[in-house]
């Protein structure tokens, strides 16, 4: 049997394949470990962490919408210290790379968390400048070029780990924001986080989510996400991790062809808990059948019309 090379290198970290579980949809890997062999995934981006534990928002935190869903979890998490003591030992048993999704209220928070994570075995930091469900920090940095620049710069100054910046789609030009992240020294970017949305219960005339608004994810956002990866790929030179509504290998390939070096799989894991591993299997088959020796050949291989 022919051997195909699915491995990708992002900012010095080698992932055995480009399939990574998306932050907030896969917990810390434990639950999905009952369905997939975590060793088979390229990596996992863990639930967004904050300096101190957070309870998150009041329920309802989820509403289904056509081909998608809104969530307003609000960064419920055990805090970075408990992650370090309780979850890193679990994740270190596996081959997959661990990306830590870091969410802060302030630049100091991002810096302090980075300092704590420096001393651990995690592989990469994904700076969350895009969570729409919290009052302070995160997306309020992510929507301005200056905010992205300042946080990225501050984190890069202290980080011993490669740093990627997770971008929000809730901006006029995601390409200019990505460029600022690169300018400030980011090692890569990941996109897209959720798109802010609202669902209203007509009977009660109230939003379905207790938090009123939430983040839209799932197949509904995929075309927007693919377009954004395409725009960002043209604007920057650092690697891109693409995501938004991936349900199968073909969806993942859209992102890779548009310019993503790797992909993250989020919401659709809920429908199919075997999905991440399935995409890896399908990718290997696909490469064999199409005589693609190295997945890198496909990254950014888009041929525009006209």
């Amino acid at each position: 049997m022919k051997h195909v090379n699915t491995s990708v290198n992002i900012a010095g970290v080698t992932f055995s394949n480009p399939v990574i579980a998306a932050s907030g949809t896969y917990g810390f890997g434990r639950e999905y470990g009952n369905y997939v062999d975590l060793n088979k995934l390229g990596g996992i981006s863990v639930k967004g962490l904050t300096l101190l534990p957070r309870e998150g928002n009041m329920p309802p935190r989820i509403a289904e919408t056509p081909s998608g869903m809104l969530n307003s979890v609000g960064l419920e998490n055990p805090g970075v210290e408990r992650f370090i003591s309780d979850e890193i030992p679990f994740l270190s048993q596996y081959d997959l790379k661990t990306i830590v999704n870091v969410a802060g209220n302030s630049i100091e928070d991002y810096v302090n968390m980075t300092l704590k994570l420096n001393e651990t075995s995690v592989d990469m930091l994904e700076i969350n400048l895009s969570c729409p469900n919290v009052k302070h920090g995160c997306v309020s940095f992510g929507v301005s070029e200056q905010g992205v620049y300042e946080v990225t710069k501050a984190v890069k100054e202290v980080s011993k780990k490669p740093v990627i910046i997770k971008l929000t789609p809730n901006v006029t030009s995601i390409a200019s924001i990505a460029y600022k992240a690169q300018d400030a020294g980011a090692d890569g970017v990941s996109l897209i986080n959720t798109i802010t949305g609202m669902k209203i219960n007509v009977k009660t005339r109230r939003p379905v989510l207790y938090n009123n608004t939430g983040g839209l994810s799932g197949p509904a956002i995929r075309p927007i996400a693919v377009r954004m990866v395409h725009e960002v790929y043209q604007a920057i030179d650092i690697p891109i991790i693409g995501m938004g509504g991936i349900t199968c290998l073909s969806d993942a390939l859209e992102f890779i062809i548009a310019g993503a070096s790797a992909v993250m799989i989020g919401t659709y894991n809920f429908m199919n808990p075997y999905l991440c591993e399935q995409i890896v299997i399908d990718l290997i088959d696909y490469m064999k059948h199409n005589n693609i020796d190295n997945i890198k050949e496909m990254v950014g291989s888009l041929r525009l019309n006209g």
């Binding site: 639950e31 329920p59 989820i62 979890v73 809920f270 808990p273």
Partner: protein, 254 residues
């Protein structure tokens, strides 16, 4: 992915909008017990991207049963599946009811679509006095009671409109009949559950209650199904749906 396939062996309308399915899947049947649920894919296109949680009503050999009420888009689609079709079902999930041989007298309280897990419990748990309290909106919605009779010592029935049994809420009937139960099993609308839970706590009677919350993953990873408990935030799909009554409905009662 054969693991996820359950074959529909039998389909039956229990009321005008409640459908009972007998499903075949050895693994799910083997692991089910009262209070657990399954997460059902209702439509094969990606228009609906979330599964729907439905309680297990019974399980034996390689079969298990569920009953679902047609409520909205998902259950409407689910109603189209027929005998012989394969359903994509994940489960069983969650933590269900627990029982002890030391109990002498227990009660089961179910309201509306909440009766399914307690009917399962009443059939499964034996060796003590069992009182069952079932609340329905109206006579036409009464279901599963005939076959339940042989499993319980007393069956108390209420309808909100008084068309059969005790006229009014099952909570009121329960308060009238409540005695020194060793354990009370509860599932129903949140208002009903809260009232019963607070009454039981006041009377120092033990209980287990099955909560309902909107779900995403159903396995404890996405954190959308949060509920406040006396031990902090817990997740209905993984830590529940069944909780000790000491731990829930704790707001404004300190």
């Amino acid at each position: 992915m054969n693991l996820l396939k359950s074959k529909i062996i039998e389909k039956k309308m229990l009321t005008h909008d409640n459908i009972r399915l007998v499903l075949e899947n050895k693994e799910i049947a083997g692991k089910s017990y009262p209070g657990v649920f399954v997460n059902v894919r209702c439509c094969h296109s990606d228009e609906l991207i979330l599964r729907r949680p439905i309680s297990v009503l019974d399980a034996y050999e390689d079969r298990y049963e569920i009953v679902f009420k047609v409520m909205g888009k998902g259950t409407e689609r689910l109603a189209y599946f027929e005998t012989g079709d394969l359903l994509d079902v994940l489960g069983p999930l969650g933590k269900g009811f627990t029982f002890s041989q030391n109990y002498r007298k227990v009660a089961f309280i179910g309201g509306g679509i909440g009766i399914f897990p307690v009917v399962y419990a009443a059939k499964q748990f034996h060796g003590c006095q069992k009182d069952f309290f079932a609340g329905f909106k109206t006579k036409e919605e009464i279901m599963l009671m005939e076959s339940l009779k042989q499993h319980v010592d007393h069956l108390y029935l209420s309808t909100d409109d008084g068309s059969e049994g005790y006229p009014g809420f099952i909570t009121d009937l329960f308060m009238e009949k409540m005695t020194d139960y060793d354990m009370v099993y509860i599932c129903g609308p949140a208002v009903m559950e809260e009232k019963i839970v607070k009454t039981l706590r006041k009377n120092k009677i033990k209980g287990q209650v099955s909560l309902e919350e909107r779900m995403g993953c159903g396995i404890g990873a996405c954190l959308v199904c949060a509920c406040k408990t006396s031990h902090g935030i817990r997740h209905v799909c993984k830590d529940g749906p069944v909780f000790d009554i000491e731990d829930v409905f704790i707001e404004d009662e300190k």
